[in-house]
Amino acid sequence: MTTTATPAGSSATEGVRPAAHTDPTLRRVRGVVGWVVLLVLGGIVLALVAGSPAPQDYLHPDGTGQRGTGALVEVLRDRGIDVDVAETAGEVLDAGGDRPGSTVVVGNTEMLTTAAARRMLERTRDADRVVFLDGAPDVLGDLGLGLGITYAPVDADIPRCSLPWVRPDDRVSRVTWSIVADGPSLPQGATGCYPLEVPDDVPQSERPPSGYAVVDLPAGSTHAPVTVVGFPDAATNRFVVESEHAGLVVRLLGASPHLVWYHPTAADVTENPPTGEEAEAVWPAWTTTAAVVVSLAFVVFAVARGRRLGRLVPEPLPVVVRATETTEDRARMYRSAADRSRAAAVLRRATATRLATRLGLTRGAPTDDVARAAAAATGLDAAAVDLLLRGAAPADEAALVTLAQQLTSLEEKVSTP
């Protein structure tokens, strides 16, 4: 692992080459990279095996929950209609939503910006039909279709209109929006179905303008035929089987052989940011250029301050070792081993040696002689002094502390009689 296999015969002439691959840092980096690659690959495999969970969005074409429209899409696919899902206005075009024989249906419009809707409408001029399935309440008024929208949670009775996909006895029970004219009347050529009747008990002053649950516009110069639907719930998995909903939406969306289901997401908002006349008004026109100047000045400042006035001066420093270090470590060792008998013996011997010197005995005098002499000098009980200097090892730390303090006080008594 640490040797390089050199070709036989060449090693003698080339000598020892620096073994770059044994550099420990490089080896460690390699190890880390290997693990990261393994983790990423494992994650990818897991993601492929597990798949992504079914989306929970309202009117999502793959949604299998109560709010999704998976059932409707399945029915359409069973009938031989090619259904593509697009998440941005660009993808609508990529999926072929701008060609004849295609119907574009806009499902959930929570993430639909006016810019994206306009762009989509303009580009899909050649499509068979554009359907706003949930009425597009946020953007409908800004699209220049001459239509408006109001909230109207009522039932619709009979269509009272003649459109190819509407049958006279199709009833709708889940209307959410009332599509109204953006002027005195609907645009020319527009067809309104399911006129919504306002109940008689609503006071005259609060009566909303009379509208329709469906408005169908013919193709214009800037857009394909547009159908705005005010009963999105009718397409959901939960309510599609109610009343005559199923037939109605299947006929509406299944008119062309190709259906592009446009479900705008956050990516669509990023691609088509809200056109901001207001946004620009917040910042003065010189903001960008001034920011450029300020950052330039900052760079110059950094360069000016970053240049040292001469190089750094190195200095060999002396070693710093405290002379007490070995003693402190010895204390730590005694303590961690809880060696009370040794500590007590050391303290006793030190005291005995000092007392012997103090009392005029030889340095190596026996401890019982020292104890006797100390007792005589201080007037203390000889047995007690002897026990202090020669007794058993202390039983616990508190006893050791007491012993140490008693030894100190004995020395003090001997030296100050």
């Binding site: 300020v294 006035l309 001469g310 200095e315 002379a323």
Partner: protein, 429 residues
């Protein structure tokens, strides 16, 4: 070539035209203005190569005091020099100020002074001198570094020198030059002179008195021209810090006091410092400059983390066969003493008088005395153990025939000097 902060401010001033006419071209135009001004300024700035810098000033300083080193900056160019000059020194040289602002008209010279307040003993070498010149607008600076050699030797502060007068007085007492005269072993005959009242009658030389018909006394002086060899151990055990300084510094203090004292006593002093090799050797041939030599030569000696080779140092002692006083300044570390020192001692003791002076650590005594809580008692036990090991080592040395002095840093010089005086008084040199 480097912009100044003033150039950055000039760039920032570009915000004004940009606000008045917000367009990309305004930014480019402003950059153009700045670049042209900077280029003009750089052209008008004095070249940093047109400088002649020389150094003068102190070359040594005692630790704790300040030295001055001067740079004489001569402008040899034709444009006025404006800018900064930095005299770079290592951090422990404590140089102030960090840089000097100066203006030198063409053909003139200016002197800038850097004050050095070193924080450590040893040699400090000056690093490069850097000059940064700016133009009249101070927008662009040109910079260049040149070597201007300089060295300041930071000497040992020798705090024990305050004890020198009192020890010299004691020396004079022995010497016979003072009123009280002592006589006995360790003194040698000096001269005969007339008796004056107060002289010890025992010192009257009757034979000379008979010849001269007047009372004549003999005067005595202590032994002179004895060889004193001070050996400083610079090995690992001397690196340990006692208080805020390594043991070696305290040992040097003692060595210097002894050197000064013995020099006055007309003894021949030699100082050797070393660990595995000899790091400094002061022969003491010239008594007048002995102390100065010792201080100066010992200044750059630092302790090293190596085991001292006493064989090498004993070889230094054996260079002369004359009986000497050998003072070993080495910490009393039981293991180092037993392994390294004791084996070489018998041959030394046979020919010389050997004294071992060791720097004791007052912190050990403090540790052994403090017994308030359990942690302190463990410390006290460890400190007592250390002390008993040191005592055992000292005893072992004493058995070989070595005098052992073990004292805290501030006491050791005095103890060693007193021991020397005692030996001298007893004629044991």
């Amino acid at each position: 070539m480097v912009p100044t902060t003033r150039a950055a401010a000039l760039v920032l001033l570009g915000v004004v035209p940009v606000v008045l006419r917000p367009a990309e071209s305004t930014v480019w135009a402003w950059i153009g203005v700045v670049v042209v001004l900077c280029a003009l300024d750089a052209l008008l700035a004095a070249s940093p190569t047109a400088l002649a810098i020389t150094r003068e000033g102190d070359d040594q300083v005692r630790l704790g005091e300040s030295a001055r080193t001067h740079l004489v900056v001569e402008n040899t160019g034709r444009r006025t020099l404006r800018g900064l000059v930095r005299d770079a020194w290592p951090p422990s040289a404590g140089s102030r100020p960090g840089s000097h602002r100066l203006t030198v008209p063409p053909g003139e010279r200016r002197r800038v002074t850097t004050v050095l307040s070193p924080t450590r003993r040893g040699d400090r070498l000056a690093d490069r001198v850097t000059a940064r010149t700016v133009g009249p607008l101070r927008l662009l600076a040109r910079q260049r570094s040149v070597e201007v050699p300089g060295r300041v030797r930071v000497l040992h502060p020798f705090p024990a020198r305050k004890h020198l007068p009192s020890r010299l007085a004691m020396l004079r007492q022995i010497d016979g030059r003072a009123a009280v005269r002592t006589r006995g072993q360790g003194t040698e005959f000096d001269s005969l002179r007339d008796y004056v009242e107060g002289d010890d009658v025992r010192s009257i030389d009757w034979r000379a008195t008979a010849r001269r018909r007047a009372l004549v006394v003999r005067t005595w002086q202590p032994e002179q021209h004895r060889r004193i060899l001070v050996v400083l151990d610079t090995g690992r055990t001397s690196a340990g810090r006692v208080g805020d300084a390594p043991r070696l510094d305290a040992a040097m203090d003692a060595a210097l006091l002894l050197t000064a004292l013995a020099g006055h006593a007309r003894d021949r002093v030699q100082v050797v410092a070393g660990d595995r090799t000899v790091r400094a050797r002061i022969s003491g041939a010239d008594r007048a400059t002995l102390l100065h030599d010792a201080i100066s030569r010992l200044a750059p000696v630092d302790p090293r983390l190596v085991e001292t080779d006493w064989g090498v140092l004993a070889g230094e002692v054996a260079r002369s066969t004359q009986r000497s006083l050998v003072v070993l300044l080495s910490p009393l570390e039981p293991a180092a003493v037993e392994e390294g020192l004791i084996p070489v001692l018998p041959s030394l003791v046979a020919h010389h008088r050997v004294v071992l002076a060791s720097v004791a650590d007052p912190a050990i005594d403090a540790m052994s005395r403090s017994r308030d809580g359990s942690a302190e008692v463990w410390d006290a036990a460890a400190a007592e153990r250390t002390r008993s090991l040191r005592d055992a080592a000292a005893e072992a040395l004493g058995r070989v025939g070595v005098d052992v002095l073990d004292a805290p840093p501030d006491e050791l010089p005095v103890r060693l000097a007193d021991h020397y005086l005692a030996l001298k008084r007893q004629g044991l040199l």
